[in-house]
């Protein structure tokens, strides 16, 4: 099971004009953590709090049935925010 590339995702689900998908890189970790905390303060508690830690490592192969990683408050003026 391999994740699709950013280009493949873009082909599957084009974004509105002015937005693009980008491959997440290590240099993005700190800015993302800071942004996620600001966008969705509730993430500080619970299973997704790991996204506020640099050592965040999510399981996928053994992931039990649970909600999607998409979080509330993510859609405003087409500003889609999700790190899951």
């Amino acid at each position: 099971m391999r994740w699709p590339s950013a280009q493949a995702i873009a082909a599957l689900s084009p974004l509105p004009a002015g937005y693009r998908y980008a491959q997440f890189g290590r240099a993005d970790i700190a800015p993302l953590m800071s942004s996620v905390k600001e966008w969705h303060p509730g993430i500080a508690v619970g299973v997704n709090s790991c996204y506020l830690r640099e050592d965040c490592r999510r399981r996928f192969k053994s992931e039990p049935p649970r909600r999607s990683n998409f979080e509330p408050g993510v859609e405003a003026d087409f500003e889609i925010v999700s790190c899951g």
Partner: protein
């Protein structure tokens, strides 16, 4: 959220005469993986297949005294023989325990080893600070559903196509599984959803499954 020590676990688990449990040792990994293939051949398909791979144990399983990891494996032993295993996974961020797998050698299933450890999972979860323990039961046979219901776990729904099973020789399909849980915190620590935030379908299902949450609230002072 720390796994208990073997002695702490020993204080919780009382097995039938002649049986004991141990944390899995690295030296027993190969023997356990081989035994699982014999005890439960269906494991070769689906989410638990990782228990047949030695690398899974090396990379993800906690061994007593070693580095803390999220997956724990306890083995049941009679004499010098492995006769079963039990595996849990902890999710420290959500303070939950996932009951991943329990397999008993068919020759020892009459000893009811699995029934003995189900209630212990709750005690262990509470001792570790977990607020919930959950797991999935196959719909291929009713035994695990009955076992979980007997110890008071709440049936909370079906996972549609979550895992794969060999439904007939050579035919693998995705299957439904029954999802069960046991809440380990007092009722006052459990937030009930506001009905206005539930769609009609979600509200109907909530009423059917969780209308009476008492069975799910297993707090014992």
């Amino acid at each position: 959220m720390q796994w208990p020590t073997a002695s702490e676990l020993g204080a919780l688990i009382k097995l039938p005469e002649g049986y004991r449990f141990e944390f899995l040792r690295r030296a027993d990994v190969r023997a356990l993986a081989a035994a699982l293939g014999r005890w439960h051949p269906d494991i070769a398909i689906g989410g638990a297949i990782c228990y047949l791979r030695e690398t899974f144990y090396a990379d993800q399983v906690y061994f007593e005294g070693g580095q803390d990891r999220d997956v724990m494996v306890v083995v049941f032993v009679q004499g010098q023989d492995l006769v079963g295993m039990w595996s849990l996974e902890k999710e420290p961020d959500s303070l939950t325990l996932y009951a991943r797998l329990i397999v008993i050698d068919p020759m020892h299933r009459s000893a009811k080893l699995a029934s003995n450890v189900m209630p212990i999972a709750e005690s262990m979860g509470r001792a570790m600070g977990a607020g919930l323990i959950f797991g999935a039961a196959t719909l291929k046979i009713p035994h695990m559903q009955r076992a979980l219901e007997t110890v008071g776990w709440q049936f909370v729904g079906f996972s549609s196509g979550y895992d794969q099973e060999m439904v007939s020789p050579g035919v693998v399909k995705r299957v439904f599984e029954a999802v069960y849980c046991k809440v380990l915190v007092p009722e006052e620590d459990l937030v009930q959803p506001d009905p206005k935030n539930l769609t009609p379908r979600a509200r109907a299902l909530w009423e059917a499954i969780c209308g009476d949450t008492a069975p799910a609230v297993g707090h014992r002072p």
